[in-house]
Protein backbone atom coordinates (compact mmCIF):
# COMPACT_ATOMS: atom_id res chain seq x y z
CA UNK A 1 0.00 0.00 0.00
CA UNK A 2 1.36 3.41 -1.00
CA UNK A 3 1.79 5.90 1.81
CA UNK A 4 1.15 9.62 1.47
CA UNK A 5 1.82 12.10 4.25
CA UNK A 6 -0.63 14.74 5.37
CA UNK A 7 2.33 17.13 5.42
CA UNK A 8 2.66 16.87 1.63
CA UNK A 9 -1.08 17.34 1.23
CA UNK A 10 -1.03 20.52 3.32
CA UNK A 11 1.89 21.96 1.38
CA UNK A 12 0.29 21.12 -1.96
CA UNK A 13 -3.04 22.65 -1.07
CA UNK A 14 -1.37 25.79 0.21
CA UNK A 15 0.42 26.26 -3.11
CA UNK A 16 -2.72 25.48 -5.09
CA UNK A 17 -4.82 28.08 -3.23
CA UNK A 18 -2.25 30.75 -4.05
CA UNK A 19 -1.83 29.67 -7.66
CA UNK A 20 -5.56 29.43 -8.36
CA UNK A 21 -6.19 32.96 -7.17
CA UNK A 22 -3.43 34.60 -9.19
CA UNK A 23 -3.25 32.76 -12.50
CA UNK A 24 -6.09 31.52 -14.66
CA UNK A 25 -5.39 28.37 -16.61
CA UNK A 26 -4.12 28.70 -20.18
CA UNK A 27 -7.40 27.44 -21.63
CA UNK A 28 -9.33 30.23 -19.87
CA UNK A 29 -6.88 32.83 -21.19
CA UNK A 30 -7.38 31.64 -24.74
CA UNK A 31 -11.12 31.79 -24.21
CA UNK A 32 -10.78 35.46 -23.27
CA UNK A 33 -8.75 36.34 -26.35
CA UNK A 34 -11.26 34.63 -28.62
CA UNK A 35 -14.10 36.48 -26.88
CA UNK A 36 -12.55 39.91 -27.55
CA UNK A 37 -12.34 39.07 -31.23
CA UNK A 38 -15.96 37.98 -31.32
CA UNK A 39 -17.68 40.61 -29.20
CA UNK A 40 -19.64 43.12 -31.30
CA UNK A 41 -20.60 45.60 -28.58
CA UNK A 42 -17.94 48.33 -28.14
CA UNK A 43 -18.44 48.61 -24.37
CA UNK A 44 -18.44 44.82 -24.10
CA UNK A 45 -15.15 44.69 -25.95
CA UNK A 46 -13.67 47.36 -23.75
CA UNK A 47 -14.70 45.40 -20.64
CA UNK A 48 -13.22 42.17 -21.96
CA UNK A 49 -9.98 43.99 -22.68
CA UNK A 50 -9.98 45.31 -19.10
CA UNK A 51 -10.39 41.75 -17.86
CA UNK A 52 -7.44 40.53 -19.91
CA UNK A 53 -5.33 43.40 -18.61
CA UNK A 54 -6.51 42.51 -15.12
CA UNK A 55 -5.28 38.94 -15.53
CA UNK A 56 -1.87 40.13 -16.70
CA UNK A 57 -1.51 42.47 -13.73
CA UNK A 58 -2.63 39.71 -11.36
CA UNK A 59 -0.03 37.32 -12.63
CA UNK A 60 2.94 39.67 -12.93
CA UNK A 61 2.33 41.65 -9.74
CA UNK A 62 0.89 38.81 -7.69
CA UNK A 63 -2.37 40.56 -6.89
CA UNK A 64 -5.41 38.23 -6.75
CA UNK A 65 -7.41 38.28 -9.99
CA UNK A 66 -10.48 39.17 -7.94
CA UNK A 67 -10.68 40.43 -4.36
CA UNK A 68 -13.25 37.74 -3.61
CA UNK A 69 -10.77 34.92 -3.36
CA UNK A 70 -13.67 32.68 -2.55
CA UNK A 71 -14.55 29.86 -0.27
CA UNK A 72 -12.14 27.03 -1.00
CA UNK A 73 -13.94 24.12 -2.63
CA UNK A 74 -11.75 21.04 -2.75
CA UNK A 75 -12.31 17.79 -4.62
CA UNK A 76 -10.25 14.88 -3.38
CA UNK A 77 -10.17 11.69 -5.41
CA UNK A 78 -8.40 9.21 -3.21
CA UNK A 79 -7.13 5.96 -4.64
CA UNK A 80 -8.25 3.01 -2.53
CA UNK A 81 -4.67 1.73 -2.36
CA UNK A 82 -3.33 4.86 -0.67
CA UNK A 83 -2.70 5.09 3.03
CA UNK A 84 -2.70 8.63 4.40
CA UNK A 85 -0.22 8.98 7.25
CA UNK A 86 0.48 11.71 9.78
CA UNK A 87 -2.92 12.60 11.14
CA UNK A 88 -6.34 13.71 10.02
CA UNK A 89 -6.78 14.29 6.28
CA UNK A 90 -9.46 16.88 6.88
CA UNK A 91 -7.22 18.84 9.22
CA UNK A 92 -4.37 18.65 6.71
CA UNK A 93 -6.58 20.08 3.97
CA UNK A 94 -7.82 22.91 6.17
CA UNK A 95 -4.28 23.65 7.29
CA UNK A 96 -3.29 23.99 3.63
CA UNK A 97 -6.13 26.43 3.05
CA UNK A 98 -5.21 28.38 6.20
CA UNK A 99 -1.56 28.70 5.16
CA UNK A 100 -2.40 29.47 1.55
CA UNK A 101 -4.86 32.23 2.39
CA UNK A 102 -2.56 33.75 4.98
CA UNK A 103 0.76 33.55 3.16
CA UNK A 104 -0.79 34.36 -0.22
CA UNK A 105 -2.48 37.58 0.99
CA UNK A 106 -5.87 36.19 0.02
CA UNK A 107 -9.11 37.52 1.44
CA UNK A 108 -10.65 35.73 4.38
CA UNK A 109 -14.30 35.47 3.47
CA UNK A 110 -15.59 32.63 5.63
CA UNK A 111 -17.85 33.07 8.66
CA UNK A 112 -18.01 30.35 11.29
CA UNK A 113 -21.77 30.28 11.55
CA UNK A 114 -24.28 31.27 8.87
CA UNK A 115 -26.44 33.26 11.30
CA UNK A 116 -23.98 34.56 13.89
CA UNK A 117 -21.53 35.40 11.08
CA UNK A 118 -18.21 35.82 12.82
CA UNK A 119 -15.27 35.66 10.42
CA UNK A 120 -12.93 32.70 11.03
CA UNK A 121 -10.06 34.98 9.88
CA UNK A 122 -8.21 32.25 7.99
CA UNK A 123 -10.79 31.27 5.36
CA UNK A 124 -11.31 27.83 6.87
CA UNK A 125 -13.06 25.51 6.81
CA UNK A 126 -12.95 24.49 3.18
CA UNK A 127 -15.82 22.64 1.52
CA UNK A 128 -14.32 19.22 0.86
CA UNK A 129 -15.76 16.58 -1.46
CA UNK A 130 -14.19 13.15 -0.98
CA UNK A 131 -14.38 10.39 -3.52
CA UNK A 132 -12.75 6.98 -3.27
CA UNK A 133 -11.41 5.82 -6.61
CA UNK A 134 -9.24 2.98 -7.90
CA UNK A 135 -5.46 3.08 -7.83
CA UNK A 136 -2.82 4.49 -5.53
CA UNK A 137 -2.87 8.19 -6.31
CA UNK A 138 -4.62 11.19 -4.86
CA UNK A 139 -6.00 13.80 -7.22
CA UNK A 140 -6.63 17.21 -5.69
CA UNK A 141 -8.64 19.98 -7.29
CA UNK A 142 -8.79 23.37 -5.60
CA UNK A 143 -11.56 25.62 -6.91
CA UNK A 144 -12.00 28.85 -4.91
CA UNK A 145 -15.59 29.96 -5.44
CA UNK A 146 -16.70 33.59 -5.38
CA UNK A 147 -20.16 34.29 -4.06
CA UNK A 148 -21.35 36.93 -6.49
CA UNK A 149 -21.98 34.07 -8.87
CA UNK A 150 -22.57 31.36 -6.25
CA UNK A 151 -25.53 33.34 -4.92
CA UNK A 152 -27.18 33.17 -8.34
CA UNK A 153 -27.01 29.37 -8.58
CA UNK A 154 -30.17 27.26 -8.41
CA UNK A 155 -31.57 23.76 -7.97
CA UNK A 156 -34.78 22.88 -9.86
CA UNK A 157 -36.63 19.68 -8.99
CA UNK A 158 -38.34 19.21 -12.36
CA UNK A 159 -40.87 16.53 -13.26
CA UNK A 160 -39.95 13.80 -15.75
CA UNK A 161 -42.65 15.21 -18.04
CA UNK A 162 -40.76 18.51 -18.20
CA UNK A 163 -38.07 16.70 -20.21
CA UNK A 164 -35.24 18.36 -22.04
CA UNK A 165 -37.30 21.49 -22.72
CA UNK A 166 -37.73 21.92 -18.98
CA UNK A 167 -33.98 21.60 -18.51
CA UNK A 168 -33.31 24.26 -21.14
CA UNK A 169 -35.81 26.59 -19.51
CA UNK A 170 -34.22 26.04 -16.08
CA UNK A 171 -30.75 26.90 -17.38
CA UNK A 172 -31.99 30.05 -19.14
CA UNK A 173 -33.97 31.16 -16.09
CA UNK A 174 -30.94 30.84 -13.83
CA UNK A 175 -28.72 32.74 -16.26
CA UNK A 176 -31.29 35.51 -16.86
CA UNK A 177 -31.81 35.96 -13.13
CA UNK A 178 -28.06 36.02 -12.53
CA UNK A 179 -27.53 38.77 -15.11
CA UNK A 180 -24.86 41.27 -14.08
CA UNK A 181 -24.52 39.94 -10.52
CA UNK A 182 -22.58 36.89 -11.62
CA UNK A 183 -19.88 38.96 -13.33
CA UNK A 184 -20.49 37.74 -16.87
CA UNK A 185 -19.05 36.31 -19.10
CA UNK A 186 -20.02 33.29 -17.03
CA UNK A 187 -19.17 29.65 -17.07
CA UNK A 188 -22.37 27.68 -16.47
CA UNK A 189 -22.09 24.32 -14.72
CA UNK A 190 -25.14 22.09 -14.97
CA UNK A 191 -25.94 18.84 -13.21
CA UNK A 192 -28.87 16.77 -14.44
CA UNK A 193 -30.14 13.69 -12.62
CA UNK A 194 -29.21 11.97 -9.39
CA UNK A 195 -30.84 13.33 -6.27
CA UNK A 196 -31.21 16.82 -4.81
CA UNK A 197 -27.61 16.98 -3.55
CA UNK A 198 -26.08 14.86 -6.30
CA UNK A 199 -27.13 17.22 -9.08
CA UNK A 200 -25.61 20.15 -7.20
CA UNK A 201 -22.25 18.39 -6.92
CA UNK A 202 -22.43 17.39 -10.59
CA UNK A 203 -22.96 21.04 -11.49
CA UNK A 204 -20.07 22.18 -9.29
CA UNK A 205 -17.78 19.58 -10.84
CA UNK A 206 -18.82 20.67 -14.32
CA UNK A 207 -17.23 24.06 -13.61
CA UNK A 208 -13.73 22.63 -13.33
CA UNK A 209 -13.87 21.08 -16.79
CA UNK A 210 -11.22 22.33 -19.21
CA UNK A 211 -12.46 25.08 -21.54
CA UNK A 212 -13.31 23.73 -24.98
CA UNK A 213 -14.06 20.22 -23.77
CA UNK A 214 -17.52 18.75 -24.14
CA UNK A 215 -19.53 15.89 -22.70
CA UNK A 216 -18.86 12.53 -24.30
CA UNK A 217 -22.59 11.86 -24.57
CA UNK A 218 -23.73 13.11 -28.00
CA UNK A 219 -27.07 14.62 -26.95
CA UNK A 220 -25.45 16.30 -23.93
CA UNK A 221 -22.74 17.82 -26.10
CA UNK A 222 -25.45 19.16 -28.43
CA UNK A 223 -27.32 20.56 -25.45
CA UNK A 224 -24.15 22.31 -24.24
CA UNK A 225 -23.67 23.94 -27.62
CA UNK A 226 -27.31 24.90 -28.04
CA UNK A 227 -27.52 26.42 -24.57
CA UNK A 228 -24.32 28.44 -25.02
CA UNK A 229 -25.83 29.91 -28.17
CA UNK A 230 -29.15 30.65 -26.46
CA UNK A 231 -27.41 32.26 -23.47
CA UNK A 232 -25.33 34.46 -25.75
CA UNK A 233 -28.50 35.53 -27.56
CA UNK A 234 -29.86 37.06 -24.34
CA UNK A 235 -27.62 40.07 -24.96
CA UNK A 236 -26.61 40.29 -21.27
CA UNK A 237 -22.98 40.60 -22.37
CA UNK A 238 -19.76 41.34 -20.46
CA UNK A 239 -20.51 42.81 -17.00
CA UNK A 240 -24.21 42.65 -17.91
CA UNK A 241 -23.92 45.86 -19.91
CA UNK A 242 -24.95 44.43 -23.26
CA UNK A 243 -23.16 42.23 -25.74
CA UNK A 244 -22.87 38.87 -27.37
CA UNK A 245 -20.49 37.19 -24.94
CA UNK A 246 -22.63 36.36 -21.92
CA UNK A 247 -21.09 32.95 -21.27
CA UNK A 248 -17.85 31.26 -22.22
CA UNK A 249 -19.13 27.73 -21.80
CA UNK A 250 -22.00 25.54 -20.65
CA UNK A 251 -20.71 22.34 -19.10
CA UNK A 252 -23.24 19.62 -18.33
CA UNK A 253 -22.81 16.45 -16.27
CA UNK A 254 -25.52 13.80 -16.00
CA UNK A 255 -26.25 10.90 -13.66
CA UNK A 256 -28.95 8.21 -13.42
CA UNK A 257 -32.01 9.32 -11.50
CA UNK A 258 -35.31 8.09 -10.01
CA UNK A 259 -38.39 7.24 -12.10
CA UNK A 260 -40.27 10.09 -10.45
CA UNK A 261 -37.76 12.90 -10.81
CA UNK A 262 -35.62 15.17 -12.95
CA UNK A 263 -33.32 17.21 -10.70
CA UNK A 264 -31.40 20.02 -12.39
CA UNK A 265 -28.76 22.17 -10.73
CA UNK A 266 -27.29 25.26 -12.34
CA UNK A 267 -24.07 26.40 -10.70
CA UNK A 268 -23.06 29.72 -12.11
CA UNK A 269 -19.45 30.84 -12.11
CA UNK A 270 -18.06 34.20 -13.12
CA UNK A 271 -15.29 34.70 -15.67
CA UNK A 272 -12.80 34.17 -12.82
CA UNK A 273 -13.35 30.42 -13.07
CA UNK A 274 -10.48 29.34 -10.86
CA UNK A 275 -9.38 25.76 -10.57
CA UNK A 276 -6.11 23.92 -10.25
CA UNK A 277 -5.63 20.15 -10.24
CA UNK A 278 -2.60 18.20 -9.09
CA UNK A 279 -2.05 14.49 -8.71
CA UNK A 280 0.06 13.14 -5.85
Amino acid sequence: MRELSTELITKTIKEMCIEANHVLSEDMKQTFSAAVREEQAPLGRQILQQLIENMDIAQTEQIPICQDTGMAVIFLEIGQDVHITGGSLRDAVNEGVRQGYQEGYLRKSVVADPIIRENTKDNTPAVIHYEITEGDQVSITVAPKGFGSENMSRVFMLKPADGIEGVKQAILTAVQDAGPNACPPMVVGVGIGGTFEKCAILAKKALVRKAGEHSEIPYVKELEEEMLEKINETGIGPAGLGGGITAFAVNINTYPTHIAGLPVAVNICCHVNRHVTRVL
Partner: protein, 186 residues
Protein backbone atom coordinates in the same frame (compact mmCIF):
# COMPACT_ATOMS: atom_id res chain seq x y z
CA UNK B 1 -19.11 60.12 -23.30
CA UNK B 2 -15.83 60.00 -21.43
CA UNK B 3 -15.55 62.21 -18.36
CA UNK B 4 -13.01 62.95 -15.64
CA UNK B 5 -14.51 64.13 -12.36
CA UNK B 6 -13.30 64.66 -8.83
CA UNK B 7 -14.94 63.20 -5.73
CA UNK B 8 -16.67 64.34 -3.60
CA UNK B 9 -18.86 66.16 -6.11
CA UNK B 10 -21.98 68.30 -6.02
CA UNK B 11 -25.49 68.21 -7.40
CA UNK B 12 -24.56 70.02 -10.57
CA UNK B 13 -21.92 67.50 -11.56
CA UNK B 14 -24.25 64.66 -10.67
CA UNK B 15 -26.96 66.05 -12.94
CA UNK B 16 -24.52 66.38 -15.82
CA UNK B 17 -23.75 62.66 -15.82
CA UNK B 18 -25.74 60.38 -18.12
CA UNK B 19 -26.28 56.64 -17.94
CA UNK B 20 -23.63 55.00 -20.11
CA UNK B 21 -20.97 57.68 -19.56
CA UNK B 22 -17.51 56.27 -18.95
CA UNK B 23 -16.14 58.19 -15.98
CA UNK B 24 -12.72 58.41 -14.35
CA UNK B 25 -12.98 59.36 -10.68
CA UNK B 26 -10.20 61.13 -8.79
CA UNK B 27 -10.38 61.92 -5.10
CA UNK B 28 -11.79 60.21 -2.04
CA UNK B 29 -13.99 57.09 -1.88
CA UNK B 30 -15.25 55.26 1.20
CA UNK B 31 -15.64 51.49 1.20
CA UNK B 32 -18.54 49.76 2.92
CA UNK B 33 -20.22 46.43 2.27
CA UNK B 34 -22.77 44.22 4.03
CA UNK B 35 -21.55 44.27 7.62
CA UNK B 36 -20.60 47.97 7.62
CA UNK B 37 -24.01 48.90 6.24
CA UNK B 38 -25.68 46.88 8.94
CA UNK B 39 -23.70 48.76 11.59
CA UNK B 40 -24.44 52.13 10.04
CA UNK B 41 -28.13 51.27 10.08
CA UNK B 42 -27.89 50.28 13.73
CA UNK B 43 -26.18 53.60 14.48
CA UNK B 44 -28.97 55.49 12.70
CA UNK B 45 -31.60 53.50 14.60
CA UNK B 46 -29.99 54.51 17.88
CA UNK B 47 -29.62 58.12 16.67
CA UNK B 48 -25.84 57.84 16.94
CA UNK B 49 -23.51 59.65 14.51
CA UNK B 50 -22.17 57.80 11.45
CA UNK B 51 -18.40 57.28 11.16
CA UNK B 52 -18.27 59.34 7.97
CA UNK B 53 -19.94 62.41 6.57
CA UNK B 54 -22.06 61.23 3.67
CA UNK B 55 -22.65 64.63 2.08
CA UNK B 56 -21.28 64.69 -1.45
CA UNK B 57 -19.39 61.48 -0.91
CA UNK B 58 -19.26 58.21 -2.78
CA UNK B 59 -19.40 54.75 -1.19
CA UNK B 60 -17.63 51.90 -2.95
CA UNK B 61 -19.09 48.46 -2.23
CA UNK B 62 -15.81 46.65 -1.85
CA UNK B 63 -13.89 44.47 0.58
CA UNK B 64 -10.25 44.20 -0.52
CA UNK B 65 -7.85 41.31 -0.25
CA UNK B 66 -4.92 42.07 2.11
CA UNK B 67 -2.09 44.32 0.91
CA UNK B 68 1.29 42.75 0.30
CA UNK B 69 4.26 44.42 2.00
CA UNK B 70 4.91 47.79 0.43
CA UNK B 71 1.52 47.94 -1.31
CA UNK B 72 -1.40 50.11 -0.22
CA UNK B 73 -4.10 47.52 -0.88
CA UNK B 74 -4.70 44.08 -2.42
CA UNK B 75 -7.22 43.23 -5.12
CA UNK B 76 -10.08 45.73 -4.97
CA UNK B 77 -13.06 45.20 -7.28
CA UNK B 78 -16.78 45.81 -6.68
CA UNK B 79 -19.21 43.48 -4.95
CA UNK B 80 -22.90 42.94 -5.77
CA UNK B 81 -24.73 46.16 -4.91
CA UNK B 82 -28.23 44.75 -4.39
CA UNK B 83 -27.25 43.28 -1.04
CA UNK B 84 -26.97 46.85 0.22
CA UNK B 85 -30.39 47.89 -1.17
CA UNK B 86 -32.16 47.52 2.14
CA UNK B 87 -29.90 50.11 3.78
CA UNK B 88 -29.23 52.48 0.88
CA UNK B 89 -32.29 54.79 0.65
CA UNK B 90 -31.68 56.09 4.19
CA UNK B 91 -28.05 56.89 3.32
CA UNK B 92 -29.07 58.64 0.11
CA UNK B 93 -31.57 60.75 2.04
CA UNK B 94 -28.66 61.80 4.28
CA UNK B 95 -26.75 63.18 1.31
CA UNK B 96 -24.77 60.26 -0.13
CA UNK B 97 -23.87 61.41 -3.65
CA UNK B 98 -22.80 58.21 -5.27
CA UNK B 99 -22.36 54.46 -5.03
CA UNK B 100 -20.03 52.14 -6.89
CA UNK B 101 -20.88 48.46 -7.24
CA UNK B 102 -22.03 45.86 -9.70
CA UNK B 103 -25.49 44.65 -10.69
CA UNK B 104 -29.05 45.93 -10.63
CA UNK B 105 -30.62 47.95 -7.78
CA UNK B 106 -34.09 47.94 -6.29
CA UNK B 107 -36.73 50.46 -7.30
CA UNK B 108 -36.51 52.01 -3.81
CA UNK B 109 -32.81 52.71 -4.28
CA UNK B 110 -33.22 54.09 -7.79
CA UNK B 111 -36.08 56.33 -6.68
CA UNK B 112 -34.07 57.60 -3.72
CA UNK B 113 -31.12 58.30 -6.03
CA UNK B 114 -33.27 60.38 -8.37
CA UNK B 115 -34.87 62.19 -5.44
CA UNK B 116 -31.47 63.08 -3.97
CA UNK B 117 -29.61 63.64 -7.25
CA UNK B 118 -27.23 60.77 -6.66
CA UNK B 119 -25.46 58.47 -9.08
CA UNK B 120 -25.06 54.72 -9.15
CA UNK B 121 -21.83 53.77 -10.89
CA UNK B 122 -20.89 50.29 -12.10
CA UNK B 123 -17.32 49.09 -11.87
CA UNK B 124 -16.28 45.97 -13.73
CA UNK B 125 -16.65 42.94 -11.48
CA UNK B 126 -13.66 40.65 -11.36
CA UNK B 127 -11.16 43.34 -12.34
CA UNK B 128 -9.84 43.78 -8.81
CA UNK B 129 -6.15 43.68 -9.69
CA UNK B 130 -6.55 46.33 -12.39
CA UNK B 131 -8.72 48.58 -10.20
CA UNK B 132 -6.28 48.34 -7.29
CA UNK B 133 -3.71 50.17 -9.42
CA UNK B 134 -5.86 53.34 -9.24
CA UNK B 135 -5.84 53.35 -5.44
CA UNK B 136 -3.06 55.51 -4.01
CA UNK B 137 -3.84 55.18 -0.31
CA UNK B 138 -6.16 53.21 1.94
CA UNK B 139 -6.88 53.79 5.58
CA UNK B 140 -9.34 52.06 7.87
CA UNK B 141 -11.50 54.72 9.50
CA UNK B 142 -14.16 52.64 11.27
CA UNK B 143 -15.25 49.15 12.29
CA UNK B 144 -11.71 47.79 12.14
CA UNK B 145 -12.86 44.53 13.74
CA UNK B 146 -14.80 43.75 10.56
CA UNK B 147 -11.54 43.02 8.72
CA UNK B 148 -12.08 43.25 4.98
CA UNK B 149 -15.54 44.70 5.69
CA UNK B 150 -14.21 47.68 7.69
CA UNK B 151 -14.87 51.19 6.36
CA UNK B 152 -11.83 52.43 4.48
CA UNK B 153 -11.01 55.85 3.12
CA UNK B 154 -9.41 55.49 -0.30
CA UNK B 155 -7.59 58.07 -2.38
CA UNK B 156 -8.02 57.18 -6.03
CA UNK B 157 -6.73 58.52 -9.33
CA UNK B 158 -8.64 57.95 -12.58
CA UNK B 159 -10.68 55.13 -11.14
CA UNK B 160 -12.75 53.78 -14.10
CA UNK B 161 -16.53 53.44 -13.68
CA UNK B 162 -19.61 53.55 -15.88
CA UNK B 163 -22.73 55.53 -14.98
CA UNK B 164 -25.35 52.82 -14.43
CA UNK B 165 -28.19 55.01 -13.14
CA UNK B 166 -28.36 58.78 -13.56
CA UNK B 167 -30.37 61.53 -11.86
CA UNK B 168 -33.08 61.39 -14.54
CA UNK B 169 -33.86 57.80 -13.75
CA UNK B 170 -32.12 56.31 -16.78
CA UNK B 171 -30.82 52.85 -15.96
CA UNK B 172 -28.11 51.30 -18.10
CA UNK B 173 -28.78 47.80 -16.76
CA UNK B 174 -32.30 48.08 -18.20
CA UNK B 175 -31.40 49.71 -21.51
CA UNK B 176 -27.97 48.31 -22.49
CA UNK B 177 -29.16 44.79 -23.21
CA UNK B 178 -32.15 45.82 -25.34
CA UNK B 179 -30.06 48.45 -27.14
CA UNK B 180 -27.50 45.81 -28.00
CA UNK B 181 -30.15 43.42 -29.27
CA UNK B 182 -31.89 46.11 -31.33
CA UNK B 183 -28.68 47.37 -32.91
CA UNK B 184 -27.58 43.87 -33.73
CA UNK B 185 -30.72 43.17 -35.70
CA UNK B 186 -30.13 46.17 -37.97
Amino acid sequence: MERHISVPFGEETACSLKAGDYVYLTGTLYTARDAAHKRMQEALDKKEPLPLDLKGNVIYYMGPSPARKGKVIGSAGPTTASRMDKYTPALLDLGLRGMIGKGKRSKEVLDAAVRNKSIYFAAVGGAGALLSKCIRSAQVIAYEDLGTEAIRKLEVVDFPVIVAADTNGNNLYETAVSDYLNNRQK
